[in-house]
């Protein structure tokens, strides 16, 4: 963990959803700083605003008010196209349900993230550079790259999803309940990998989880309740 300019800087962040004629205040003034290379776990009960925070930090939805800077970029005034660009270049996602494309092999699932980021054709003999191949070894999936998701276990699928999330070297890796669909052994393996990724590659990680044990893998645990950080 390094100290200095935070890579995520959030002040007074609010998000209100309009559900029919009812306004739902999902975030009610969140303040949070995450330093580069930090692994932060966000825990809280359902409805506490964790997922909304995840979506806003990932540029999937705009905030209603407040300030939020990701790698020095202000998200508040961003257009849809600018938020798309942010997702392409600065943020990587890992989801609870893995969310691999079922028609593509593991390798192609990783490659398509590079394609979307406009990095196709960078490597003549394959999409993956030596440094990234080392990362795949770390993730333990280098021998499973030519299999489609249906032929992979849950743990393997989640490791492919992690590889996909970091292939473009994003400033931030966002993980939403990454072990929610895994058994204990695979959960520990995936969490260990995230911690290794953080320690060895300095990857900034913001992980949302219900599980206090999983949260313990982070450098810092942030508790959320009723749209606030406690």
């Amino acid at each position: 963990m390094t100290n200095g300019q935070p890579i995520i800087s959030i002040r007074g962040l609010r998000k209100t959803y309009h559900a029919g004629e009812v306004d739902v205040q999902a975030l009610r003034g969140v303040d949070l700083d995450v330093q580069p290379g930090e692994f932060v776990s966000v825990v809280g009960p359902s409805g506490s605003g964790k997922s909304t925070l995840f979506h806003i930090v990932g540029g999937l939805t705009p905030p209603t008010s407040g300030t939020i800077h990701i790698a020095g970029r202000d998200l508040l005034g961003m257009s849809e196209a600018e938020r798309t660009e942010l997702r392409k270049t600065s943020v990587g996602f890992v989801f609870q349900k893995y969310n691999l494309l079922p028609t593509l092999t593991a390798r192609d699932n990783i490659e398509i993230a590079r394609d979307i980021a406009g990095k196709k054709g960078a490597h003549k003999n394959g999409p993956l550079d030596p440094e990234f191949l080392d990362m795949l070894k770390l993730l333990g999936i280098e021998s499973r790259l030519d299999h489609k998701p249906r032929a992979l276990s849950g743990g393997e699928q989640q490791r492919v999803a992690i590889a996909r999330a970091i292939v473009n070297r994003p400033a931030i890796l966002l993980a939403d309940e990454p072990t929610g669909n895994l058994d204990t052994e695979n959960s520990n393996a995936v969490l260990g990998l995230l911690r290794d990724l953080n320690r060895r590659a300095g990857q900034t990680i913001l992980m949302i989880t219900h599980n206090p044990e999983a949260a313990g893998y982070g450098d810092r645990i942030v508790h959320m309740r009723d749209g606030h950080i406690e």
Partner: protein, 363 residues
């Protein structure tokens, strides 16, 4: 990579993909078969007209290339025979028997002198007023043999001979009988003219035009060139209507196929958006899928048009002639492509505008 995703998506749902290809293929075949029938029928008619061996044809005033009305007095032939350079002439009468076929009444002795006679594959020329001759295609289609009774124009005829196709219509009867039967005594549909010297056709045509004012007089070369779609009223319009219907069918097939694909892949679309895919990137994937189906469908449709030609040639050889018209392959493919892309546009835009969070939450 995008192409790989497109290809894998199509492979993932083979039945849906095949249905799309088949529907587009049928659309393309429909167009190619219709155009092939038009070209085949017209070129066959032109070939049979020129197969008579005449140098000039004299048609009634105000007639068009497809007019069959008997509005010329047969005595015109006598006047034509008096003109310098004319070797002989003979009038014929044509009468429709059904949607696709006509019967021709000829003065066989005179016609044989002009044309060199029919080439028979069975039987021979008619001997009596109730005799009929048919060509091989007509005999095959109607399973006729020499000596059979043929019912035509609401009366029985005796089949005297079967001749090689390539001249006049597929059914030929004595001129006098047909004139009497159709209340056209003394009238013919047109007159074929044989010249002493075919090299002087232009002078002969000019001479005949000066004598037979208002009549339509053409060299056979000029006449056969008139067998083009633009000279057949309504044909072009009919073909465009069928093409339009084909586009609508292709459009609906792809619209439905892509709409279900987008629904089914809602979560995947959310994933692509989370990875930073722009709306254009997602639209591009779906349009490429539709384009690939259209290309495969066009190839299938072209192959299928050979199948329709085979069936038509073997089932109704006397009624319909279908040509293969390669010039129309890219046109039919482009029409299919346009329909497919239009069909994919709606679902594609829906996918492109899909909210990423809602899409990711979709089960």
């Amino acid at each position: 990579m995008t192409n790989k995703l497109v290809f894998e998506n199509l492979k993932h749902r083979p039945v849906r993909t095949m249905i799309g290809i088949v529907v587009i293929g049928i659309q393309v075949t429909l167009i190619l078969t219709l155009v092939g029938l038009r070209e085949g029928t017209l070129s066959d008619q032109a070939a049979r007209a020129s197969g008579v061996g005449a140098d000039v044809i004299v048609r009634p005033p105000s007639s068009s290339v497809i007019t069959m009305s008997a509005s010329m007095p047969v005595r015109i032939a006598g006047k034509i025979d008096e003109q310098p350079g004319v070797k002989l002439s003979t009038g014929v009468l044509q009468q429709g028997t059904d949607l696709f076929n006509y019967v021709t009444g000829v003065d066989l002795a005179q016609f044989d002198k002009l044309s060199g006679g029919f080439h028979f594959v069975a039987g021979g020329p008619f001997q009596g007023p109730d005799d009929v001759m048919v060509d091989e295609f007509y005999a095959k289609q109607n399973k006729l043999h020499v000596g059979d009774t043929v019912k035509l124009l609401n009366r029985p005829w005796h089949l005297s001979g079967i001749y090689q196709p390539g001249m006049l219509t597929r059914v030929v009867v004595p001129l006098a009988t047909l004139q009497e039967l159709t209340a056209n005594t003394g009238k013919v549909s047109w007159v074929y003219v044989k010249l002493d010297d075919p090299r002087k056709t232009d002078q002969a045509v000019a001479q005949l035009r000066s004598v037979l004012k208002d009549y339509r007089i053409y060299s056979m070369e000029e006449f056969t060139s008139l067998f083009s779609p633009s000279n057949i009223p309504m044909l072009q319009g009919f073909i465009w209507v069928v093409i339009g219907l084909g586009v609508v069918v292709g459009f609906l097939a792809i619209l439905l196929s892509m709409y279900t694909a987008v629904l089914e892949r809602t979560r995947e679309i959310g994933v692509l958006k989370a990875l930073g895919a722009s709306p254009a990137y997602i639209l591009n994937i779906l349009l490429r899928e539709a384009a690939l189906i259209a290309i495969a469908g066009a190839i299938f449709g072209i192959l299928l048009s050979y199948g329709t030609r085979f069936v038509i040639h073997n089932v109704v050889p006397a009624s319909l002639i279908q040509s293969i018209v390669p010039m129309w392959w890219p046109i039919a493919a482009a029409i299919a492509m346009a329909g497919a892309l239009l069909g994919a546009l709606g679902p594609g835009l829906k996918a492109a505008r899909q909210d990423a969070i809602e899409a990711l939450a979709y089960d």
